[in-house]
Amino acid sequence: MRQPSVIARRVAAASVTLVVAAGAAACGPKDNDAKGAGGDSKPQKGGTLTVLNANPQEDFDPARLYTSGGGNVPSLVFRTLTTRNRESGAAGAKVVPDLATDTGRPSENATVWTYTLKKGLKYEDGTPITSADIKYGIERSFAAELSGGAPYLRDWLIGGADYQGPYKDKKGLASIETPDDLTIVFHLNKPEGEFPYLATQTQFTPVPKAKDKGTKYEEHPISSGPYKVVKNENDGERLTLERNTYWSAATDAERKAYPDKIDVRSGLDSSVINQRLSASQAADAAAVTTDTNLGPAELAKVTGDKALAARVGTGHFGYTNYIAFNPKVKPFDDPKVRQAIAYAVDRSSVINAAGGSSLAEAATTYLPNQKSFGYTPYDHFPAGASGNPAKAKELLKEAGHPNGITVTLTHSNDKDFETSPEIATALQDALKKAGITVKLQGLEVNDYKDKIHSVKSEPGFFLAHWGADWPSGGPFLAPIFDGRQIVKDGANFNTGFLDDKSVNGEIDAINKLTNLDEAAQRWGALDKKIGEQALTVPLFHPVYKRLYGSAVKNIVISDWTGVLDISQVAVK
């Protein structure tokens, strides 16, 4: 799962629920976000864009980054075979070609994928980019020294499970072929219609073997994109990017690259970042953040100020916060108890705890409420806005608990407003009305992650969240509900231990589809079906609101990332 880089503290989350049914596709921010606050003049080249961040870019090695394009800043340096469409709203959830001429040509039932590189692609030193470099970049991501990427390459490529990377195994991966300098062919062990989405990840960035310095490569990764790293201080705390003169806009339809220079400063307190962006003085006028959302307190202040409110970008990222059950733990083995809790949940108070209705949208579906995920509205256990304690009590009675129950809710002590104490106490207060006494078990973050992802120690009733690796139902549903993905001796994400033949079979069937729209529909239907089992109680989807400086123009926020796309921003 993608742990959204977002977040420092006070993030919030959300999406449009039922209301959206009509306009789910259109829920992206398009009104005031499309035009910057810096006047209506056309964006120009030049200037320095400042990025104010909480978290340093500690990982700047394409092998170690997780998300598509490695998130915002790395995507300025790393080009990949395919990339996300850099447009606002739902249009931005599409996958488009980047280094390759198309999004991939499937054959043999979507188990073989072939890409052809564009002509004239060059690194920052002027040497040509070849398909062998892409193969090498993927291979090195298998090295234990460079772990951190998503699991899909390992799971999908033939021989991927046993490959240990090029440092130990000089022969390389036979399942990636490079018949010539411009062609690369991938052989998968099963059909995967969503391979084009995977090819947006930074493992698909070319790495010239001669320049590979192992774990030290991240100090100066070789650029294939519009900017190169000229300074990287304190492990990504301060980055300076300048133009890569060998990059050509003619080969890159997605990155606009308006500013001449990007100055990334991190290690800042999130409330300070928001103060600076709202004051927008001097260099901060041309500043954005790629990891800090507006928190509720800041939102309260911003909404009272029209000029400031015009400088807020709003986005929706495919992300769901939910209650998870372990059906092996009593009393949660009884579906009626799980359903009772689903009925008793007060989503409005949970949303308030997460930052209010501007920062979170009630969720009744596990899948995010966006078309690309195949969003299919359902509400199997309607609790209304503030819960249905009467129905919950009735179910508890049927389950043999006429006097209510006492349960323990496990949560993290993180300050993320997602699995944190604020959400847990809001639930505690709401469930009380249904005769459910909730004891809270707050765990330090690392302890919490260990426990909920371990088959042996998974608690019965806990807060969890899941984010999209790419905007489709596949990476959202399969790790959580595919019975073959239960991991007994490592990090397990199928927390409900669902191992249902029909669900597993449907996942396989959808993976064969190369028509992504059709696949999306089927994922939505599958989500609705799984939802009946009440293994999770969806709570809310986040809405990301971020300030940007007064001189910043050309704001694009896609549904893929939910946050402002730094490659589109202009400061002149």
Binding site: P296, A297, E298, G356, S358, P421, A424, D429
Partner: protein
């Protein structure tokens, strides 16, 4: 921990007073003459009373600290309280908390229980450990002293905040949290107390009447109990009055780092942590716990000063500038120690000069004592 911790360890602490100099009656008489100290004592008593009577007071108000009131906040604006002054009304005397609508008065008085309780608990632990280690080091032989002093050094040199972060993560969450926080603060931050006690004990040990007791064959335990502990009472009580506010700040700092007392239990530190970003949108949310903390620290400091003065008649006489009594010959050694805790170093230094042969390293004990802070800001 909070830089606050640091500082409050106040100099001005009178480390030395004449042992057994004043009976309880004398003490009260002297304390009564200090108006500021009496007011401070009243404030402290009131705070404790508020904390103890929290359930009663909130019952009168008709609220409790955990019930959510979603109708009193504006969800679309981040959950800012509806109405003026943060939603102050007849039902909610001090308004409601942003995002939840929980009653602020109830949270403040229940928070007082936790904050004062944790601070007092931690202080008790610090004083107990500090006195035992300090006295043992001072009365033990060279090796015991060396060993205990080195151990004390280790605890002084370890960053309290970092060790607390680790320790609070190790202990299972089923352990009662306020008790745990008190223990962790107390067990890590006793070093300075021990140093002060050791220095003071060494000074007392050098005084004539203790030497006399020794010569007449009393055993160490009896000397400690009968002659030393009474003499230690004054500096220890004074120092403890300063430890309490330091520990309140420590609890606040731990909450800020996310390892303090767990929700929904309110504490001032937690309120401050949650409220600091609300300074612009809902100022009273921040001002209430900050004001409560300020009043508490002020009152305890003034009270600590008063207690010191009442326990030490010489200090009292010095309060009138320019009329200080003539020093008596015997008091020569102690006179130095009178004021700030850093001064206690001097005190021991003098003492050690006197008994140079026997107590070669007594002086070392102290300056650090003043140092106080393991604190981190």
């Amino acid at each position: 921990m909070s830089e606050a911790i640091v500082a409050s360890q106040a100099p001005g602490t009178d480390l030395a007073s004449v042992p057994g100099a004043s009976g309880a009656r004398q003490f009260w008489r002297r304390l009564r003459t200090q108006r500021a100290a009496l007011v401070a004592a009243g404030v402290v008593a009131l705070l404790v009373l508020l904390a103890l009577a929290a359930p009663l007071l909130t019952a009168i108000e008709g609220q409790d600290p955990t019930t959510y009131h979603p109708s009193l906040i504006d969800s679309a604006r981040g959950g800012v309280p509806v109405g003026s002054f943060g939603g102050v009304s007849g039902d909610h005397w001090l308004g409601v908390e942003p995002q939840t609508g929980r009653d602020l008065f109830a949270r403040l008085v229940y928070g007082a229980r936790v904050s004062l309780g944790v601070a007092l608990g931690a202080t008790v632990v610090q004083v107990l450990v500090g006195v035992v280690v300090g006295v043992a080091a001072a009365l033990g032989n060279r090796w015991i002293d060396q060993l205990l002093s080195r151990i004390t050094d280790i605890f002084v040199a370890m960053p309290l905040m970092i060790m607390s972060l680790a320790l609070l993560a190790i202990v299972p969450s089923s352990f009662p949290r306020p008790l745990l926080v008190a223990f962790v603060i107390g067990l890590i931050a006793w070093g300075n107390t021990a140093k002060i006690v050791r220095a003071q004990t060494l000074t007392l040990k050098g005084l004539d009447y203790v030497s006399a007791a020794r010569l007449s064959g009393w055993n160490t335990w009896r000397i400690a109990r009968r002659e030393l502990l009474p003499g230690l009472a004054a500096p220890v009580i004074t120092y403890a009055a300063l430890l309490v506010p330091m520990n309140i700040s420590a609890e606040a700092a731990l909450s800020f780092l996310g390892v303090g007392v767990k929700p929904p239990t309110p504490s001032w530190g937690q309120m401050l942590t949650a409220a600091n970003v609300w300074y612009q949108a809902a100022p009273q949310y921040l001002l209430l716990p900050a004001g409560a903390l300020l009043v508490t620290v002020l009152a305890l400091t003034v009270l600590g000063d008063g207690v010191r003065t009442a326990l030490d008649p010489r200090a009292a006489s010095r309060l009138r500038v320019g009329t200080g009594r003539k020093r008596e010959a015997k008091a020569d050694a102690d006179s130095k120690k009178a004021t700030a805790d850093a001064d206690s170093k001097k005190a021991t230094a003098d003492a050690s000069a006197k008994m140079a042969a026997t107590e070669a390293d007594s002086k070392k004990a102290t300056a650090d004592a003043s140092a106080k802070k393991e604190a981190e800001a």
